[in-house]
Amino acid sequence: MNAWIRTLRGVLAGILLLALPGLPAHAGEKLRVATEGAYPPFNYVDARGELGGFDVDIAKALCRAISAECDFVAAPWDGIIDGLEAGKYDVIAASMAYTEERARRVEFTDRYYRTTSSFVARRGSTLDTSVEGMRGKTVATQRSTVHADYLAATYGSSVTLKITDTQEGAFDLLVAGQADAVLCNSLTVLGFLRSDKGRDFAYIGEPLTGKNLSSSAHIALRKGNVRLRDAFNKALQEIRISGEYDQINQKYFPFSIY
């Protein structure tokens, strides 16, 4: 009789063990999430001084989905990966676009939104965004972005590149007339165009898709943290299915940006 009970217990334990993967693997895990805080509407510092935005909301939703405790920190965009590597934080949720160069240094989750990149100039501008058309023009963009790389790679020295620390800085240059155009992702451009500052500005030229520029935004984790990466991917699917993603999406954009 005792042997029977022991066997039964063993079998039950085995079954439970098998079921374990179903349990939240990261329950109670503490994660530090870094974002720039200067890239509205994706990440910014709100009126109360707290970090907010699409990126932050998505990150919060994902953390909830994996039952981890996430704290948000602001980090300058330039060198944000260095901070991750140094262990200052565990996650970067800052609309980081996928590049191969970056992928060598971090683990990227699946994309959590997509966007094209566009030039912005004064309304009615006849600026031709081809290489020839842009000769001699001034284009502003944020440092260490794919846009900066693209501009440098495509236009080389025929345009004057003005690199700013923040994207806002680039728009300010445009508004101040110190730049003829700004290259940025269109969703951020939308925010600028709909603001007071951007009243007189509009898209010019042909939008650039992923063929020209990396266009999908991913969450970055320390290289090797595949467990967390897979967990975030699964969580991303979950929030998409549950409708939470759409909720967050609708909060910031009147259309789906996935």
Binding site: L187, L190, R199, R240, S256
Partner: protein, 585 residues
């Protein structure tokens, strides 16, 4: 997603009615158990397969259908928004609103560059530019209106509206088509999923059917080969128990049940036999009881009979005792009678004898010489002497006979006084020979030789009787061997016994008479006839035997016809003086 497992041949190895073998209960139950386990295993596999299939289909739904649906939903939403924004651009009066809508529309159009459907992304690209142109037209229109050129403004307005109408229509048519496509793809997906589900179900049903078959086969097997025999055996046992009759049970496929059935049949047969035996036993017992009854009654009768007999016997015994007493009295009487008679006889006989002797003597002394001269007187006197001699002889013989009769009677009745003394054989023989000297030479032609060596045992006996015995023997020898030789010898008979032998060379005694001569009144008839005259009474040898046997000895005769006879007396002797005499008890 794995295909349904092929149902294995489940009836392998089971002893069904098709196979003619008889199997044991243990192997059969093992097979059944294995079949059950296999069926359960198949069921478990089925369940797992079903679960797996469900999970597959759920995953399929999630991975193929759901994204498609979500994608098409997203597209629909964006298309709807684009149309709304575009419409605003085309129709809104307020420039600020128009510009806002333009920005939104252009941004949205850019987002739609990534649509999977090439038609949609192309349309979005076109819309990006078209909406911008429409916005420019509207701005121009507004400017013209501000300058008062209403008609041209209206033209522009119409142009804008027319352009937007075209675009919108195209986009709408596109979106409907995309929607239809999406629905179709989804339907196809679900159909394929449903198809796979149906195939899984069929496989599961087939497997389940097989399992059911196995179960049915097992049940049928159990019913036919386990339950049925068990019930039959039970029924048989019950019948046996109730009626004590024989039962016949059919053969069972399973060995153990067959054994049980045979055992039940044997039990029935045994019980029937037992019943028979019981009846026989009862009958036997009844018989025995009857016999016992008989025996008992016989016993009782026997007791009565025995009682009767005993009384009879007792009466007879009493009678016999009385008779015995009478006999003894008679014997006494007889002996007395004999003694007195013989005594009485002897007295006149003695007188007769004596006087005849006197007469003979006197005659021969006084009258025979006188008759010498006369021849006739001489003849007559001789004849008278002969006659006297005969009377004397007969007288002597009668005397001897009477003496013998008396002696015999006395010996038989135990009245003979036995004055036993130590006797020397030589002396006995000598005295006996002296007594019968007159029968032998020189008085007759018969010679007597006496041979009594020394060193022979002595006798312890009555000398008169011994002498009497010897004299009888010698007389007989002399009588039957006239002119021959008679030897009287004594010898050692061995073991302290003495042997006396009287032998003659007469005609002998026929073998058939050797025993009988010792009986009373018996003589060797033929010899007597030869001799012409009876000379004895037949009692001599009887007396010799009586005497010999009195002293524990024996007497017998050896003879061959024509070659003489030997009479042997064997008697126990005694050793030299001082030893215990050996006398009869």
């Amino acid at each position: 997603m794995s295909p349904a497992p092929a149902p294995a041949a489940r009836s392998e190895g089971k002893a069904t009615g098709i196979l003619g073998r008889r199997i044991g209960l243990v192997p059969a139950s093992r097979l059944l158990g294995a079949a059950m386990v296999a069926a359960v295993g198949v069921l478990a596999l089925l369940v797992v397969y079903a679960m797996d299939s469900i999970s597959d289909q759920a995953l399929d739904t999630r991975d193929r259908v759901l994204p498609g649906i979500m994608e098409s939903q997203r597209t629909m939403l964006n298309v709807e928004r684009l149309l709304r924004f575009g419409e605003s651009v085309a129709l809104a009066a307020d420039q600020a609103a128009r510009h806002d809508a333009l920005n939104l529309a252009q941004t949205l159009a850019q987002a739609m560059f990534y649509e999977q459907d090439r038609r949609v992304s192309d349309a979005a690209r076109e819309a990006f530019h078209t909406i911008r142109r429409i916005a420019e037209l509207r701005d121009q229109e507004e400017a013209l209106l501000a300058m008062g050129q209403g008609a041209q403004a209206l033209l522009l307005r119409h142009e804008a509206a027319r352009a937007w109408g075209e675009t919108a229509a195209r986009i709408e048519e596109l979106s409907r088509s995309v929607s239809r496509d999406a629905v179709r793809v989804t339907a196809e997906n679900f159909t394929s999923i449903a198809g796979r589900a149906r195939r899984s179900m069929l496989a599961a049903a087939a497997a389940l059917g097989c399992v059911l078959l196995v179960a049915l086969a097992a049940v049928a097997f159990i019913r036919r080969h386990i339950l049925a025999p068990a019930l039959q055996a039970a029924g048989g046992l019950e019948r046996i128990g109730r009626h004590e009759q024989e039962v016949r049970l059919p053969a069972a496929r399973i060995r153990e049940f067959d054994m049980v059935n045979r055992a039940v049949e044997r039990l029935g047969a045994l019980l029937v036999q037992n019943a028979e035996r019981r009846r026989e036993l009862v009958a036997e017992i009844a018989e025995r009881q009857a016999v016992e009854e008989q025996l008992a009654s016989l016993n009782r009768r026997l007791e009565d009979l025995v009682g009767e007999r005993t009384r009879d016997l007792e009466a007879q015994a009493a009678k016999l005792q009385a008779a015995n007493a009478r006999l003894r009295d008679l014997d006494e009487l007889k002996s007395g009678f004999l003694s007195s008679v013989s005594h009485e006889l002897r007295t006149p006989l003695t007188s007769i004898f004596g006087f005849v002797k006197l007469v003979a003597r006197d005659f021969s002394r006084h009258f025979v010489p006188l008759a010498e001269s006369e021849a006739q007187l001489r003849k007559k006197s001789a004849s008278i002497q002969d006659n006297l001699g005969i009377v004397i002889e007969e007288g002597e013989r009668l005397t001897r006979l009477i003496n013998n009769v008396l002696d015999l009677s006395r010996i038989e009745s135990g009245r003979m006084p036995w004055n036993d003394r130590r006797l020397a054989l030589r002396a006995c023989l000598g005295q006996a020979a002296e007594s019968v000297a007159g029968r032998f030479a020189p008085f007759t032609r018969t010679r007597l030789v006496v041979d009594a060596p020394a060193g022979l045992p002595d006798l312890h006996a009555d000398p008169d009787r011994i002498k009497q015995m010897l004299i009888n023997l010698l007389d007989n020898a002399a009588k039957f061997a006239p002119g021959g030789e008679v030897r009287l010898t004594a010898s050692d008979g061995g073991a302290g016994r003495a042997r006396i032998t009287v032998s003659d060379n007469g005609p002998g005694i026929p073998a058939g008479d050797l025993e009988g001569i010792f009986n009373r009144f018996q003589q060797a008839g033929s010899v007597e006839k030869q001799a012409g005259k009876p000379t004895g009474a037949g009692l001599g040898l009887a007396i010799c035997r009586e005497i010999a046997e009195h002293y524990g000895g024996s007497i017998w005769a050896e003879s061959e016809a024509g070659r003489g006879s030997s009479f042997h007396v064997d008697m126990p002797g005694i050793g030299p003086a001082g030893e215990e005499p050996q006398s009869e008890a």
